[in-house]
């Protein structure tokens, strides 16, 4: 008898290791990645003639006699069955990685790979949504030598965990994507910059890199600085310096790591490459909306019943994701707002739930899709307290290079603290708007440029919270 139990750190946090240890010796326990239905973890699966079936929320005490009970077919779990999985197609399985895409890419000319990625219209999944093919072509055409491939695994946006799941669950998919990028642009070495908050992912990634001989890859460990998710700050950090944002241009694609041409993409962007190579650019371009192609691994969090990873083609609405997949609010909680795109993402009220998951549809309503984090807030959340928290975050994480971000975030935090303490006035809201404009237009990078967005949208949609305290 064989059972499959995830060793993903989220599953482990709710007892997957203790459950695995509770099985008797005659049961073979195979550790796998997690399917990302974290509300069901620990999810213990078995093989049946009709595919995998599982037992949900298993505790060690449930293990004796568990296998005599009737399991739920995985295909009958709506949260999973309704998804369109490519990047996370193997999540939860124990499938050896076949490197089919890398083998195919070896038979292609570098320009063919570049054309394929461009034709697929793959936009970066880290937040900026810049076309990956354009970045790659720029590096391929750049004169400097050597060239580098850098994976941004500094998944700092609170409410996101898809990079972590890839690194823990299928690290070879990331490494393969990087190796293909290396072939396309003629790079000699790759780096993965991983945040220190992910010790389990670091271990899995180290083990994978040690086995991976197709492309030289070095792992660099971050040290707890959100700004190092910004691509130029990340490069400074790899070089061992303070993570200070660089002026652009020159762009990293031309002058990046140690001044050399560098492709820097998010983990999910690289992890999407293998499917584009094996299935073809047309397949990728056939999924999604007019301007956002392919699938997006969304990450549900906060006050939502079924929190977990939801990979769907672009175009699904926020409402579908939160209610059809997420199951809506937990018992006793009432929806108030949703924040998409991490701590710099706008805060939306109920009426904007009809917004489709699409980079441009979000931009049109004044938001960002970012790295795909979706955090739901209930009616107990005071928007002034939330805005103050987010500005405190920006003030703590600003690299300090440009004045709008360095000074603006601290001033905004102080104003919000005054409002929170009941010392606010109408002038304060006007001042926050003006300060927000300055930060948006005058900041060097997206941290300062986007930080006012959640505050300004909170004032716009939940003005009552702010005025109540006057």
């Amino acid at each position: 008898m064989k059972v499959y139990i995830p060793d993903d750190s989220a599953a482990v946090s709710v007892g997957a290791n203790r459950v695995a240890a509770a099985f008797p010796k005659d049961v073979e326990v195979i550790r796998t990645s997690s399917r990302g239905a974290f509300f069901l973890e620990p999810l213990v699966e078995i093989d049946t003639p009709n595919g995998r079936a599982g037992y949900c929320n298993v505790k060690p005490a449930d293990v004796p006699g568990l296998l005599k009970k009737k399991p739920t077919p995985i295909s009958k779990i709506p949260f999973l069955a309704k998804q369109t999985r490519f990047t996370f197609a193997n999540a939860g399985l124990a499938k050896p990685y076949d490197f089919a895409a890398l083998k195919k890419a070896r038979g292609m000319k570098p320009q063919q790979i570049l054309d394929e990625v461009k034709k697929a219209n793959l936009r970066g999944r880290g937040g900026a949504a810049f076309p990956a093919g354009v970045k790659w072509q720029t590096t391929a055409d750049a004169r400097g030598q050597p060239k580098y491939i850098v994976a941004n695994a500094d998944e700092g946006d609170a409410g996101t965990y898809s990079d972590r799941m890839i690194m823990e669950g299928e690290p070879y998919r990331l490494l393969e994507g990087m190796a293909i990028a290396g072939l396309a642009v003629g790079a000699s070495k790759g780096y993965v910059y991983i945040r220190s908050e992910y010790p389990a992912a670091l271990k899995k990634l180290r083990a994978a890199v040690a086995q991976f001989t197709d492309f030289e890859i070095e792992i660099v460990l971050g040290a707890g600085a959100y700004i190092c998710g910004e691509e130029t700050a990340l490069l400074e950090s790899i070089e061992g310096k303070r993570g200070m944002v660089r002026y652009k241009p020159p762009f990293p694609a031309v002058e990046g790591l140690w001044g050399k041409p560098t492709v820097i993409n998010n983990v999910i962007t690289f992890a999407t490459i293998p499917d584009i190579i094996t299935r073809g650019a047309d397949w990728h371009a056939s999924l999604g909306t007019a301007t956002s192609k392919g699938t997006m691994p969304l990450q549900l969090a906060g006050q939502v019943k079924n929190a977990g990873l939801v990979e769907v083609p672009f175009g699904a609405t926020l409402e579908e994701v939160i209610y059809d997949f997420g199951g809506g609010m937990p018992t006793g909680c009432k929806f108030k707002a949703v924040q998409v795109g991490g701590p710099l993402g706008s805060i939306f009220p109920k009426k904007l739930l009809e917004t489709p998951i699409c980079f441009d549809a979000f931009a049109k309503v004044g938001g960002i899709l970012g790295h795909g984090g979706i955090v739901v807030y209930d009616d107990q959340m005071d928007m002034v307290a939330l805005a103050r928290h987010l500005m405190e975050f920006t003030a703590a994480e600003s690299c300090g290079k440009c004045t709008p971000c360095r000074v603006g975030s601290t001033r905004a935090r102080e104003i919000l603290e005054a409002i929170l303490d009941g010392d606010g006035s109408d002038d304060d809201l006007a001042l926050l708007n003006e300060l927000g404009d300055t930060m948006k237009n005058g900041s060097l990078c997206a941290l300062g440029g986007l930080a006012p967005m959640p505050v300004l949208t909170a004032i716009q949609y939940f003005g009552k919270d702010f005025r109540r305290r006057k």
Binding site: S9, G156, L221, A225, Q303, L309, G373, V375, F393
Partner: protein, 142 residues
């Protein structure tokens, strides 16, 4: 010890991370030796040391708690568990408990957002915190 910690090629951050891995923190009096070894100035080293939240210049408690203040943990009202922990430890975020057992640090996101609110003690994540489960987790660390 320093000999072993100095990264090659010289890299200030990697060196400081190695020193902290060896001592638990980066004693300020090691800065001149690190700078000399790397061929940079003291202020270069201090600049990197003060920039990164992970790097400490004071000896931490026996266990380090990284309490998550990320958006999802805020959304699930982590402040209640934080208050319970602060009361139990007799120290606030950024401080070490008077008995030297725990250092309580904040962290912005542990990537366990589907099971918020979270904290990490050592490398172990404690999910779905309540004031009760949060203080109970402390009991497991002597």
């Amino acid at each position: 010890m320093l000999e072993k910690c100095v990264a090659s090629p010289p890299n200030i951050l990697a060196t400081l991370q190695a020193v902290q891995a060896a001592f638990g923190y980066v004693p300020l009096d090691t800065v001149p030796a690190i700078a000399a070894k790397l061929g940079v100035t003291d202020s270069d080293v201090r600049g990197v040391l003060s920039f990164y939240h992970d790097l400490r210049t004071e000896k931490p408690g026996k266990h380090v708690i990284r309490f998550c203040l990320g958006d999802s943990c805020r959304a699930t009202h982590c402040e209640n568990s934080l208050a319970a922990i602060e009361k139990k430890l007799g120290c606030e975020l950024g401080e070490t408990s008077p008995d030297g057992k725990f250092t309580l640090e904040k962290v912005y996101c542990l990537g366990n957002c589907a099971l918020s609110p979270n904290m990490m003690i050592g490398e172990e994540i404690y999910p779905r915190l309540t004031p009760k489960s949060a203080t109970a987790a402390l009991e497991k660390h002597k």
